[in-house]
């Protein structure tokens, strides 16, 4: 049986902005416009993904760092999270180690290991239109349903106005400044919802959401 713990991983270096905080590391992915907050353990693992340090060695180093026993499952869990956040050059996750949930890892390690669980919290950086107060829509939108799972942080859905944000159950329907990464659909076509139950009202009266 192959011993996966001799495998090594390599941290991504390019197109990242990294800021070290007292207990965490913040990473901004310039390609995907995502920000990641790595807790101390995740940051430790990521910083040791040098293409040479094996999972076994990482576990031993982390054990020295925190002063308590560290199971290699913790390292695998951290590598899985870092891989999902696109912070590794290559994901070397064996099938048996991939997709472990935090709960599964805790169950295997015991609650006492909580402090050592590597965590990566991610956020998609907002576009300008998402971050500002006012959003102009060329067409009023009726019966729209915001999809809280669609990446909308603070979904607001008011009848006869428009949801802000994008993803999930609807597409953008808001003015974007020239040069913005989001396409401006205003004045071209009414918004189109991927959710067929939603209706776009093509009234010529524009809607305003602040």
């Amino acid at each position: 049986m192959e011993n996966n713990n001799h495998q090594v991983a390599l941290a991504r270096q390019e197109d990242l902005v990294v800021r070290e905080l007292p207990e965490e590391v913040m990473v901004y992915d310039l390609k995907r416009h995502k920000a990641h907050c790595l807790n101390k353990t995740a940051a430790f693992i990521w910083q040791h993904c040098d293409g040479q340090t094996t999972v076994t060695q990482m576990a031993r180093l982390l054990q020295q760092e925190v002063g308590s026993p560290i199971d290699e499952e913790v390292i695998w869990y951290g590598l899985d999270n870092l891989g999902k956040a696109d912070l590794l050059e290559e994901t070397l996750m064996p099938a048996a180690k991939a997709g472990l949930s935090r709960r599964q890892v805790l169950r295997r390690l015991g609650v006492g290991a909580l402090v050592a669980i590597p965590t990566v919290v991610s956020l998609v950086a907002p576009t300008v239109a998402q971050a500002v107060t006012g959003v102009t829509v060329q067409f009023k939108v009726s019966n729209a349903t915001c999809d809280p799972g669609g990446g909308v942080i603070n979904p607001v859905c008011i009848n006869n106005s428009c949801c802000t944000g994008g993803g999930g159950g609807y597409t953008l329907c808001q003015a974007s400044p020239p040069g913005s990464p989001e396409p401006s659909e205003c004045g071209v076509t009414p918004c189109t919802f991927t959710d067929s139950s939603a209706v776009c009202n093509t009234s010529s009266t524009p809607g305003v959401l602040r």
């Binding site: 800021r19 956020l123 971050a131 006012g134 102009t136 603070n154 009266t205």
Partner: protein, 306 residues
């Protein structure tokens, strides 16, 4: 620079505004001349170049009576510029009543050469102007990071309340001001490279319950004053309003706090390195709380007691 002046004067596309016997070149950007025929509209008659937050923008209109109205909608800290070449040009075309068969007329707002608003409702077009100008400045300001947040000053430190639309920022800022805090903004926390908050003293945009429309109320109506000097951030409160809820907040780690602020940062994608450095400075000095809040007056008391 005399040759440039001559070039403008000789160019057939240049418009010269004549105000009280003095002449002034109407603003235009490098790519688009101030052509009379540009956008299909002859007769841009009034305009102004201004500088705000290090960005030079131009404003022009076909009705000189509207120029002051447009200038009143621009974010509060600006000054006139004598240079006609601007980085972004906003043009308001006010339609004339009776041109259409139904007696109504259409008004257009252009941002450089593109139509960004077109409506028979002039108020709506003016709102669009205000919004587009704010959005442009908030994204492009070279030396500032705009975070969508309310901001007040209290005991030499700034308190900022980041949040998206409808999160109740203005209500909370109004209550904080009523309780004695100094007003900085109900819309943006404008941060410099040291992480200090600068005033962005627009009148508070108060919304009537159940309405999308806002009315502008000067801070004096709330018994407050506007701050004048930049303040370091002492407290950040990320909270969600829950009717009848009681204050429940927990302290965020520096990293979690940076994510919360980043989520409300306008130029997050345009200049992430600057944004990350600035936000890092903020969270390294400030207490950051997140949680549920109840009514604005109770929350204001809770915040000021921290």
């Amino acid at each position: 620079m005399r040759w440039k002046y001559i070039h403008f004067i000789r160019s057939p596309s240049v418009v010269i505004e004549n105000i009280l016997g003095t002449t002034r070149l109407l603003p235009h950007n490098r790519d688009t001349s101030a052509s009379l025929e540009e956008n299909g509209h002859p007769g841009w008659v009034a305009g102004r170049s201004i500088v705000a937050y290090g960005i030079r923008i131009g404003i022009r209109t076909n009705k000189s009576a509207f120029l002051d109205r447009l200038l009143a909608l621009i974010p509060p800290v600006w000054k006139s510029s004598s240079t006609p070449v601007v980085e972004r040009l906003f043009s308001l075309w006010v339609g004339t009543t009776g041109l259409r068969r139904n007696g109504r007329s259409s008004h257009q707002l252009y941002e450089d050469g593109q139509v960004v608003a077109n409506s028979e409702d002039l108020d709506w077009v003016l709102e669009a102007f205000e919004r587009q100008v704010k959005m442009y400045l908030a994204e492009m300001a070279p030396h500032r990071v705009f975070v969508h947040a309310g901001a007040v000053g209290w005991q030499g430190k700034a308190i900022i309340v980041p949040g998206r639309s409808y999160s109740g920022k203005t209500s909370l800022v109004a209550e904080l001001v009523r309780a004695g805090a100094t007003y900085y903004s109900d819309e943006y926390a404008v941060l410099d490279k040291y992480g200090r908050v600068h005033p962005y003293p627009s009148p508070l945009a108060v919304r009537d319950p159940g309405s999308l429309r806002q009315k502008r109320c000067p801070v004096e109506e709330f018994g407050g004053n506007t701050g004048v000097r930049p303040l370091p951030v002492g407290l950040v409160v990320v909270s969600h309003y829950k009717p009848g809820g009681r204050q429940r907040h927990r302290r965020l780690s520096a990293g979690q706090a940076m994510l919360e602020l980043l989520d409300n940062t306008v130029p997050a994608r345009r200049k992430p390195e600057v944004v990350m450095t600035t936000l890092q400075k903020v969270v390294s000095e400030a207490l950051v709380l997140k949680g549920v809040r109840g009514e604005a007056n109770e929350t204001a008391r809770f915040i000021l007691e921290r």
